[in-house]
């Protein structure tokens, strides 16, 4: 059962889930079993901070610094994105 993600949890893409540049359509996608999710610029920036080592709070901090944006706004986007990936069994938290 999905529960709220704690700030110290470290997100990582599950094995067999990877980003891929879809040359024919000029876009980035997230490839996974039977799924191909189109990644917009925001999603790409978030995933760039995901390495299995960095905690959720540090992912948010890095993005807030990079874009000089309010932390609350970033946190909302990041949590919603991660939750959608977790629900689809594409991401886990360690």
């Amino acid at each position: 059962m999905t529960t709220a993600i704690t700030p110290s949890a470290r997100p990582r893409l599950l094995s067999g889930v990877r980003t891929h540049f879809d040359k024919a359509r000029d876009r980035w996608v997230l490839l996974a079993p039977e799924r191909a999710l189109e990644l917009d610029a925001i999603a790409m920036h978030i995933l760039a901070e995901v390495d299995g080592q960095t905690s959720l709070e540090n992912v948010i901090s890095a993005l807030a610094a990079k874009f000089a944006a309010p932390r609350e706004q970033i946190e909302q986007d990041v949590r919603a994105f991660f939750l959608s990936l977790e629900d689809r069994r594409l991401m886990e938290f360690v």
Binding site: M1, T2, L14, G16, R25, L31, P33, D87, R89
Partner: protein
């Protein structure tokens, strides 16, 4: 205003089903392969498959499903997986598990295999053996699932469900969780090919189908974040038909063992379609310009009640092969649709078959020896 059917280019395919061989140690009575099929002698050699994968990636295909028959029956499976990886394709091995060892799976992973989809025919030994036509098949599959987990390859279980195993759906879901599968495909049997030969033994009852829908709904909620369930319901008892293949020639290409390219794996049942071969024409050319891929693109081909129906953009009139099989006309509304004039006959036939006491099965087999 615009005479070009709306589904043609710039639409690009996203998936390829590569049927590497029709050889298979199993004999499932609902196999999606054709009734008439040949063995090794007509199969494409390694180098042609490798070139097909290169063309597929260039054309925009993202997912490559290595299937059959049993793809592990090909001794060059390792080379084919390497080729898929070199071209950036997401490779999925659709397997019965027979023909794999832990060592071979490890080698496939090293060569870039992304995902394994393992079939199960039943959750008890008797059912599994009866519907695979293979002795002790369940034990084999459980071992394969364990190797896949140990190698950290994502696992999908594929369970074809029918009257004789639908009552074990809860157990099937539980088994998927126990085996560490991330996805489960609950695929109610589709009556094409071999399954059509076994309607009396396989047709689910209306009550089973109703219960299955509830079980899947509850399990999806309970297992959120643990197991993703993709569900193919029994369309015979539904109000509207399935959006077969996401539309004809819209998302996917199917390459048969001899190199023939089909819009779907049952398209050969429609008379008059001409299937081009990868040995004679480029994949792009076949996708864009072949007669078979253009036959039912867009909606110019539709008849009433589809033509004036607002759902024509939702389900594309259903399945063309089913329309052919049941209405005798591939352009007709799929009789699974409640708006089809043949729908009541279809439901009556389904209920008759569901009430049948038939348990004998016609097993899948090759026309000529392998």
């Amino acid at each position: 205003m615009n005479a070009v059917p709306q589904n043609t280019s710039p639409l690009l395919p996203i998936a390829m089903l590569a049927e590497l061989t029709y050889r298979c140690p199993l004999a499932c009575p609902y196999c999606s392969n054709p009734l008439s099929m040949s063995g090794r002698s007509s199969e494409l050699p390694t180098e042609i498959w490798v070139d097909v994968f290169r063309q597929a990636a260039e054309l925009g295909i993202l997912h490559l499903h290595l299937s059959g028959g049993e793809p592990a029956s090909r001794r060059d499976l390792e080379e084919l997986v390497s080729a898929a990886g070199e071209h950036g394709l997401y490779s999925n091995l659709i397997t019965s598990g027979v023909g794999l060892t832990e060592q071979r799976l490890g080698e496939l992973k090293r060569r870039g295999l992304d995902h394994v989809q393992l079939s199960i025919q039943g959750v008890d030994h008797a059912t599994a053996d009866k519907f695979s036509g293979y002795k002790n098949s369940l034990a084999r599959k459980l071992a394969v699932a364990e190797w896949v987990a140990r190698l950290d390859i994502p696992l999908t279980l594929n369970a074809v469900m029918h009257r004789q195993n639908l009552d074990r759906l809860e157990d099937t879901i539980e088994l998927a969780v126990q085996l560490g599968a991330r996805r489960l495909e609950v695929a109610t049997v589709q009556f094409h090919g071999w399954a059509e030969q076994n309607r009396g033994a396989l047709m689910p009852t209306r009550e089973q189908v109703r219960q299955a829908g509830e079980i899947v709904r509850a399990a999806r909620e309970r297992l959120r974040g643990i197991l993703v369930i993709d569900y193919v319901p029994a369309d015979y008892y539904a109000r509207f038909p399935k959006a077969c293949m996401g539309g004809w020639g819209a998302t996917s290409m199917n390459v048969a063992p001899d190199g023939a390219v089909l819009p779907c794996h049952a398209a050969h049942t429609i008379p008059g379609l001409v299937f081009e071969n990868v040995q004679e024409r480029s994949l792009r050319d076949i996708w864009e310009a072949s007669q078979s891929f253009n036959a039912f693109r867009g909606n110019e081909w539709m008849q009433e009640p589809c033509r004036s129906c607002e759902r024509k953009h939702v389900d594309f009139g259903g399945c063309r092969c089913q329309a052919m099989a049941l209405a005798g006309d591939a352009r007709a509304t799929d009789p699974a649709c409640s708006l089809s004039p043949l729908h009541l006959d279809l439901v009556a036939a389904a209920e008759r078959d569901a009430a049948s006491q038939e348990t004998e099965l016609v097993y899948r087999k090759l026309t000529s020896p392998a």
